[in-house]
């Protein structure tokens, strides 16, 4: 079966800085795939390039059989891509509900009410706070909001950039529970994490990035067991 996302030999630059050097990877329908790597390895850059916020100088990004080329970011959303960016980036001055509505920007208005209900079911804490401005939410609640907002567009591929960043262990647990349940419900997920242990234990497959290159790949279990990975990313 064709992979849902196929990234082939992308090279991404910030001015003269060569951040991504010939990265290739694939995500299959229904999988959780994780990209792990140290700070500055190029994980966020890779996700932002898939989302269309940045563009590659070479190679191709094929999503659902279509080459995204230099499609601007705002058009990738209706193709079925959604990115929960690093640092959440919810709209702090808008209410919880308005943030979620923004997530459904590309959708016809008729389905929005049902989708809101669905997201509120997934994140009951958001429902209690639907009229509050997002800036008054705690970090964990903001992360839930960012994920809920992305789900409002019914993504065929959900990309999460460090969803556990800065959260207390109990909340990290919760976020990963949600990732598992989304996976069970059939969502395909591309997950970037610092927390390699947690990411590899939910992932079907993983890719390890180092200074802009893929250095290792394998199933979640393989990578978890690999002594090199253990040493470099799992604290011994």
């Amino acid at each position: 079966m064709e992979p849902i996302l196929k990234v082939d030999n992308i090279n991404v630059y910030y001015g003269s800085i060569h951040a991504i050097k010939g990265v290739s990877f694939e995500v299959n329908q229904g999988e959780i795939v994780t990209l792990i790597g140290a700070n500055g390895a190029g994980k966020s850059t890779t996700l932002n390039t898939v989302a269309g916020l940045l563009h590659s100088k070479t190679g191709s990004i094929t999503f659902l059989g279509e080459n995204l080329g230099h499609l601007p970011c705002h058009k990738t959303v209706s193709k079925g891509l959604a990115l929960v960016p690093e640092g959440r980036r919810v709209f702090l001055q808008m209410s919880v509900q308005e943030n979620l509505e923004m997530g459904a920007y590309t959708k016809p208005g008729s389905g929005v009410a049902a989708d809101l209900e669905h997201v509120y079911e997934l994140f009951p804490r958001l429902k209690e706070r639907m009229r509050q401005t997002a800036g008054t939410l705690s970090g964990g609640e903001q992360q839930m909001l960012a994920m809920g907002r992305a789900l409002m567009s019914h993504p065929k591929l959900l990309m999460l950039d460090e969803p556990s960043m800065g959260l207390a262990p109990i909340l990290v647990e919760q976020i990963f529970d949600i990732i598992r349940s989304l996976h069970k419900a059939g969502t395909t997920i591309l997950l970037v994490e610092q927390n390699a242990q947690a990411a590899l234990s939910v992932a079907d497959r993983g890719y390890v990035l180092e200074t802009g290159k893929v250095v290792t790949t394998g199933t979640g279990a393989e990578l978890l067991a690999s002594p090199i990975i253990k040493k470099a990313y799992l604290g011994g």
Partner: protein, 292 residues
């Protein structure tokens, strides 16, 4: 009674400032730039409506609509040609460009309409007599205040309730995140310029109806005052622009009446400085530290 009539003329002038300030503030909120050419759009609006009414003999309402259309197109074209290529440029470069556009518009007007002042025919004349004629309120003042209130309410409803308006707020907070929602940021910025410029056209007609001397530089002083009003109220804030505009108009009218006509402008700016010393973000603005 005298006081009342000064107050009313202040509110009316302030309403014009408020309408102009709304354009400044919306563009600032979304494009994060000071569009110094905004004042000159007012002047263009004045000339277009003048020509439509005086040379083509069209009814004033048609003149107003024509002015709005021309200014809307002009605003969008200016944004697309002059500002859009500078989206990633430092803000100083954008500011200098805006000043350049302002001079360009003034000089273009000089070429087309010459420096000789035109006498604008108010779109509505006469006044309302109250207290047996002791207080006369020009109809144009009443119209100005009403128009300003309607615009204010409509704009607030638009930004809070409509999908496009919400998208504008999203863009003003975080353009990257807005794109991730599927919002076309460039189209949203164009839309903002379109709305701001249409408002400038209305302001031009109202301004010239109250102060009927029309010259290529007609827009610059009200433009700067309205910018001051926007900063005064808190730039980026729609109610702030409204409040700032009104207060500025009233202060100016009172200073003219009770202190000195010549000092009025200095007093207006002195008040601005004091307000900014006490509240750096303006009356209704929120102080957001610049992210680095």
């Amino acid at each position: 009674m005298e006081f009342l009539s000064y107050l009313i003329s202040g509110i009316s002038l302030g309403s014009v400032y408020a309408i102009i300030a709304l354009g400044y503030t919306m563009v600032y909120g979304i494009a994060k730039m000071l569009n110094f050419a905004h004042g000159d759009i007012i002047m263009v609006g004045g000339y277009i409506s003048f020509c439509a009414m005086n040379y083509l003999g069209l009814p004033s309402i048609v003149g107003i609509i024509l002015a709005m259309l021309v200014c809307t197109v002009l605003g969008v074209v200016i944004e697309g040609l002059a500002y859009k290529p500078l989206r990633a440029a430092p803000s100083l470069a954008v500011l200098i460009t805006a000043i350049g556009v302002s001079y360009f518009l003034q000089n273009a007007a000089l070429l087309v309409w010459s420096a000789a002042p035109k006498v604008y025919t108010p779109i509505i004349s006469g006044s309302l007599s109250l207290f047996g004629g002791a207080l006369k309120i020009p109809y144009v003042s009443i119209l100005t205040v009403v128009v300003c209130l309607v615009i204010m309410v409509a704009l607030t409803a638009f930004t809070n309730m409509s999908k496009m308006g919400k998208a504008m707020r999203a863009c003003s907070e975080d353009k990257g995140a807005a794109q991730l929602m599927g919002i076309n940021v460039n189209a949203t910025i164009s839309m903002t310029f379109a709305i701001g410029s249409a408002l400038a056209a209305i302001a031009g007609v109202l301004l010239c109806s109250s102060y009927p001397t029309l010259m290529p530089t007609t827009g610059s002083m009200p433009g700067i005052k309205a910018f001051t009003a926007a900063v005064f109220g808190g730039i980026g804030s729609i109610p702030g622009a409204f409040l700032g505009g009104l207060l500025l108009g009233i202060i100016e009218a009172m200073a003219k009446a009770y202190i000195s006509t010549n000092l009025a402008n200095s007093i207006v700016f002195a008040v601005l400085i004091v307000v900014l010393l006490v509240k750096p973000a303006g009356l209704l603005g929120r102080y957001v530290p610049e992210k680095v």
